[in-house]
Amino acid sequence: MIPVSHVFIIAGFIFTIGMVGIFIRRNLLVVFMGIELMFNAANLAFVGAGRMHPELSVISDGFASVPFVMAVAAAEAAVGLALVVAMYRATGGTDTDLLRSMKG
């Protein structure tokens, strides 16, 4: 008997850790890894919420949302890594502090 609130709390922890990682890290690759952590936390919350109503005989929306989130995460990872490669070509590094050509 796992309370559903515990699943949500764990998902919230992982989401917060990923978001903190986005803010404190300067390597663009690690920033994308933080985004992946946030996607996974959302998936975990979806599964917990889908498990919450067992009286439904059809598949719940929570379970069916997870593959869509995975597909969006895959698309995001591909586009983001192409951006990393483009940034490496343009600046010679992946540090976000190198991106200052639009700084006034």
Binding site: S5, I14, G50, M52, S60
Partner: protein
């Protein structure tokens, strides 16, 4: 049975995701993130979705993280010294706001008092998921294929050698003579 594994795996996942954020070497971050993905697949199994656990391992730990590791090892990354340029105001506010958001999540999560059923009634098996994707979710399924196709075309366009002669990299890899027709496709 599943409660026996749920809390240790979740503690491990939280610990490892702290390691993803903390580790200085991006290769270590990627390896730790693979471990986090596998742990989350274990949590999915504890929650009773075996298909999603398998998809998590296949898609995340198998495909996305291999892509990440490939780029990490292609791109020359150095270890970053933490806060080498000082702590910016945006970083301070970002961490503050994320912790505030986490506390908000905690507060909202505690509103749910329902318990997950212990009886193993597999709702997330491949049969019911496949039936759902062919009946109720057929239109979103087709839409997500379009998203993936658009992302694929976008990546191909973005990773081409740029046509214009912009200010190219002063990085260490741009010493080679450039052919006029854009020869070195990576």
């Amino acid at each position: 049975m599943n409660i026996l594994f749920f809390y240790p795996i979740s503690a491990l996942v939280i610990f490892l995701s702290c390691g993803v954020v903390y580790a200085a070497n991006p290769v270590h971050c990627a390896i730790l993130l693979v471990a986090v993905m596998i742990g989350i697949a274990g949590l999915f199994l504890c929650l009773g979705c075996e298909l999603l656990a398998m998809l998590q391992i296949l898609v995340y730990a198998g495909a996305i993280m291999v892509l990440f590791l490939f780029i990490v090892m292609t791109v020359d990354t150095r270890k970053e010294e933490k806060f080498a340029n000082g702590v910016k105001l945006a970083q301070t506010w970002g961490v503050f706001l994320s912790v505030a958001l986490g506390l908000l999540f905690l507060f909202i999560s505690l509103q749910f008092s329902r318990h997950l059923p212990d009886s193993v009634k597999w709702l997330g098996d491949a049969k019911s998921m496949g039936a759902a994707f062919l009946n109720n979710y057929a239109l979103p399924f087709e839409a997500i294929t379009m998203v993936l196709l658009a992302a694929m075309v976008g990546v191909v366009v973005m990773s081409r050698e740029p046509m214009s002669q912009g200010p190219m990299s002063q990085g260490p890899t741009s010493q080679g003579p450039k052919t006029a027709s854009g020869g070195n496709q990576a």
